[in-house]
C-alpha cells in the first residue's frame, strides 16, 4: 500500500536523520583520542598517516574553538505562561526561506552557502504552554548569536535530564501531531535572527520523574543547548510515559521566526 510505503519512508528518513545527528564528531575536536587505538585495530601506514591527519585537524579544531567562549546559553526558562501571554505560534509557520532538497548530500558541494549552525552559534529561549490538559507544547527559539550567517535545516533533537542528573530517556519524533506538523526546509539565519520549533508531549502520569533540564541539539550539530539546571522545571513536570515505551516527543521542523517575534498568524 502506497500510504504505508510513504509512512515507512518517512520513518526511515527520520530515523537516519536522528542517528546521524548523534554520531559523535570527536575527531576534529579531540585529536588525541584515536592514535592510541592503533595496536588493536592497526593498519600500519594508514594508521600513522591518520595520526598525522588528526594532528593537523586538531590544530585546526583548536583554532576553530578559540572564538567560542564557554557556552553561555542565554537561556530563559519560562514557566508555563498564563493563557493571555501565549508565545508566538512557532509550529505552524508555513513560510520557507530557501528551496532545498530534504537531505543535503553529505559529501558534495557546500562551499559558498553558510554552514549549519553549531550549538556554539546559537542561544536558546524556551517557553511552554498547555494546549490541553495533560499536554504540553513547548516553544524553542534558537537565535544566531555568532557574527556569521548559518543555517538550520530540519529537526532539532531533544533530551531531558531529571533532578538527579540522570538522563531521562525519550524519543524525538519529527512531525507527529497537528501542532508540530510542518515541512522541513533550510532556514538561513543572519546574525541576530532566530528560528523556532515546537515540541509537544504529555505529562499525565504524575509518577514519572520530573524534568529539570531540556537539551536541544540543533539539526546537524552535536552539542546541546540546555535550559539551566538550577531553573525550575521548564514545564514543571514530567514526560509521560516514562517507563517502557519511552515518551515520544513530537517536534516540528525549524522555521524562521518573524523578526518582531510577535505573532503573525494564528
Amino acid at each position: 500500500m502506497s500510504h504505508d510505503d510513504h509512512d515507512l519512508e518517512e520513518r526511515i528518513r527520520a530515523n537516519l536523520r536522528d542517528r546521524a545527528r548523534w554520531v559523535p564528531l570527536r575527531n576534529p575536536s579531540r585529536p588525541a583520542r584515536r592514535p592510541e587505538l592503533a595496536p588493536s585495530t592497526g593498519r600500519r601506514a594508514g594508521r600513522a598517516a591518520a595520526a598525522g591527519l588528526l594532528a593537523a585537524a586538531g590544530i585546526f579544531a583548536a583554532v576553530l574553538l578559540v572564538p567560542h567562549a564557554p557556552r553561555p546559553t542565554t537561556v530563559q526558562v519560562g514557566r508555563r505562561p498564563s493563557p493571555t501571554t501565549s508565545p508566538p505560534p512557532a509550529a505552524r509557520t508555513t513560510s520557507t526561506s530557501t528551496t532545498s532538497t530534504t537531505a543535503p548530500p553529505p559529501t558534495s558541494t557546500t562551499t559558498s552557502t553558510p554552514g549549519a549552525c553549531t550549538s556554539h552559534d546559537l542561544a536558546l529561549t524556551f517557553t511552554a504552554e498547555s494546549p490541553a490538559a495533560g499536554s504540553v507544547l513547548g516553544h524553542f527559539y534558537l537565535s544566531n548569536r555568532s557574527s556569521q550567517p548559518c543555517t538550520l535545516d530540519g529537526y532539532a533533537t531533544l533530551g531531558a535530564v531529571g533532578p538527579n542528573g540522570n538522563a531521562v530517556g525519550l524519543t524525538t519524533h519529527p512531525g507527529g501531531t497537528s501542532l508540530t506538523a510542518g515541512r522541513a526546509a533550510r532556514v538561513a539565519l543572519a546574525p541576530g535572527q532566530s528560528a523556532s520549533f515546537s515540541a509537544e508531549w504529555n505529562e499525565i502520569d504524575s509518577t514519572c520523574p520530573s524534568i529539570t533540564t531540556i537539551d536541544v541539539i540543533p539539526p546537524n550539530a552535536t552539542g546541546a543547548l540546555s535550559t539551566p539546571n538550577n531553573a525550575q522545571p521548564p514545564v514543571g513536570t514530567s514526560f509521560d510515559p516514562c517507563g517502557s515505551p519511552r515518551p515520544v516527543i513530537d517536534v516540528s521542523p525549524l522555521a524562521p521566526t518573524s523578526a518582531s517575534s510577535t505573532s503573525t498568524t494564528s
Binding site: D5, D18, W22, L25, A57, A103, T107, A167, T172
Partner: protein, 162 residues
C-alpha cells in the same frame, strides 16, 4: 603527537577534511551501523584521499566512493558479525537520554547493498544514478535493492509494532 604528519597536508586538504568530516563520519556510521567502525572507515578514507588529493578531480566523490567501499570491506570482514551480535544484545546508546531506535537497528542489519541504497536515498539524498554508479550496478538493480529493503523493513517492523 607532533606536527610531523600535519605538515604534509596542505591547507586545502585540511579545509576539505573539515568540511567533509562531519557528513562523512555520519555516512560511515550509518553504513556500518557502528560508531567505532564508522570512525575507522572515515579516517582510512581520508587517508586514502589525502594520498591522492592533488591528483583527483572530485575529491568529494572519491571520498564518498571510498567510504562506501571501505564500509563494505568492513562489512565483509567478521566485524559485521560481531556488530550484529552487539546490536542485538547491547544497543549502543546514541547519547544519554536518547533512544537508539529499533528501526535504525533493522537498517543496520540489512544486507550491505540494500543498506547503501537506503542510507543513500533517504539520508544522503543520492539519486538512483549516483547509487548505481557507486554500487557498480544498473539503475534497475538500485530500484530492486530499495524495494527489497523496504519490504524487509516493513515486515520486521510489522512483526514488532503493527
Amino acid at each position: 603527537m607532533n606536527g610531523d604528519g600535519g605538515d604534509n597536508f596542505s591547507a586545502a586538504f585540511i579545509a576539505f577534511y573539515q568540511e567533509h568530516y562531519p557528513a562523512t563520519v555520519r555516512l560511515a556510521v550509518l553504513l556500518s551501523g557502528s560508531n567505532e567502525v564508522g570512525e575507522d572507515v572515515t579516517q582510512e578514507a581520508f587517508v586514502a584521499v589525502a594520498a591522492r588529493y592533488q591528483r583527483i578531480d572530485t575529491p568529494a566523490a572519491y571520498l564518498r566512493r571510498t567510504v562506501v567501499n571501505m564500509a563494505n570491506n568492513h562489512h565483509r570482514q567478521r566485524q559485521r558479525r560481531r556488530e550484529r551480535l552487539r546490536l542485538l544484545t547491547d544497543p549502543e546508546p546514541a547519547a544519554p537520554g536518547f533512544e537508539a531506535v529499533e528501526l535504525g537497528q533493522l537498517i543496520s542489519l540489512l544486507p550491505f547493498r540494500q543498506r547503501v541504497v537506503v542510507v543513500g536515498r533517504y539520508w544522503a539524498g543520492w539519486s538512483e544514478a549516483e547509487l548505481a554508479e557507486l554500487l557498480g550496478c544498473r539503475r534497475g538493480t538500485v530500484k530492486s535493492l530499495a524495494s527489497r529493503a523496504l519490504t524487509a523493513l516493513r515486515s520486521q517492523i510489522g512483526a514488532d509494532h503493527r
